[in-house]
Symmetry: C2
Subunit: 155 residues, 2 copies
DNA sequence: GCTTGACCTCAAGTTAACTTGAGATTGTAG
DNA sequence: CTACAATCTCAAGTTAACTTGAGGTCAAGC
């Protein structure tokens, strides 16, 4: 199924994708991309890998981890170009994720606004410190946005 | 200047702050907090450390790294409680940072919206892939939001 | 046939922000 | 006096997403 005409070596692909060759090898190791080997053992890529890496980078901008991206990619057809329908499904879920992160930041901004000038930061009463309720329902992907407070050590 | 009456041991402080004792030691090592030692060598903290840790955690939620927080703390008086003015100055700059992150996410969301259904992700034409201009002026603190595209390896 | 650049593998290093573990000490309650 | 929890120090481990390095191979040009 893979037309033989257009196989690209790793250096070219890296250049086109804006990543390093080491990154491509790393992605392959993680199962994010695949390559075909020449008789001499060199990786050759179909042009579709460029789109795939683009996908990965956009997903990372959305805040997904590589593991989450791997999962997302499993929902896509592995060897054919994703249809608008495939893409639609994913991008809609990404949109939700972005919206969620925006909401969190807006909440934080509002809390900050309500605190500017008071200098309180008094635990228990200050809404700025005490993000528990807001953070509770976040997916794992957004945790680093919140500092991921460790569970009580002693309390 | 430190009133002797109210020194707290590390476990209590950890409990009040919602961090582990190891984290407090780590923060001390990094110069984020200070302690007084008992004759036996145990750390004792003034209650102000609780406020300081609260400050650190909020700053982390805003997206600052510990190094940035160290810098921010240096702008604050080291031994007195920060005034509303001190706090105001910092929180205003945090607000800017949050606004910036919100703007980035909104831009990403809009790009995503314009792409939903088209499934393009075609490099060069798709605005979703190709965040260069938007990402360029970001502070280091927000880099992880964008995936921090490596500089050209080959190109 | 030799040089050279692109490529290969595998292992180890990087950064942030902690956490975990080992082994020793303190200090308080019984 | 003896437990025993709470501390202590110092070293090493963790996770993510790569990067860097060492040492070797492939293939095109001269």
């Amino acid at each position: 199924m893979v037309s033989k005409q257009e196989l690209l070596p790793i250096g070219i692909v890296a250049g086109r994708c804006g990543v390093s060759v080491a990154t491509l090898r790393f992605y392959e190791e993680r199962g994010l991309v695949t390559s075909i080997r020449t008789a001499g053992g060199k990786r050759m890529y179909t042009r579709s890998v460029i789109r795939r890496v683009a996908f990965i980078k956009v997903a990372q901008r959305v805040g997904l981890t590589l593991d989450e991206i791997i999962t997302a990619l499993e929902l896509l057809p592995n060897q054919r170009t994703p249809t608008a329908r495939d893409w639609n499904r994913l991008s809609a879920s990404w949109r939700d994720r972005i919206d969620e992160r925006i909401r969190i930041l807006e909440g934080l901004r509002d809390d900050l606004d309500s605190c500017i000038g008071c200098g309180c930061l008094s635990l228990g009463t200050c809404t700025l410190y005490n993000p528990g309720d807001k953070a509770a329902k976040l997916g794992t992907g957004a945790r680093y946005l919140l500092g991921d407070a460790p569970s009580d050590t002693n309390a």
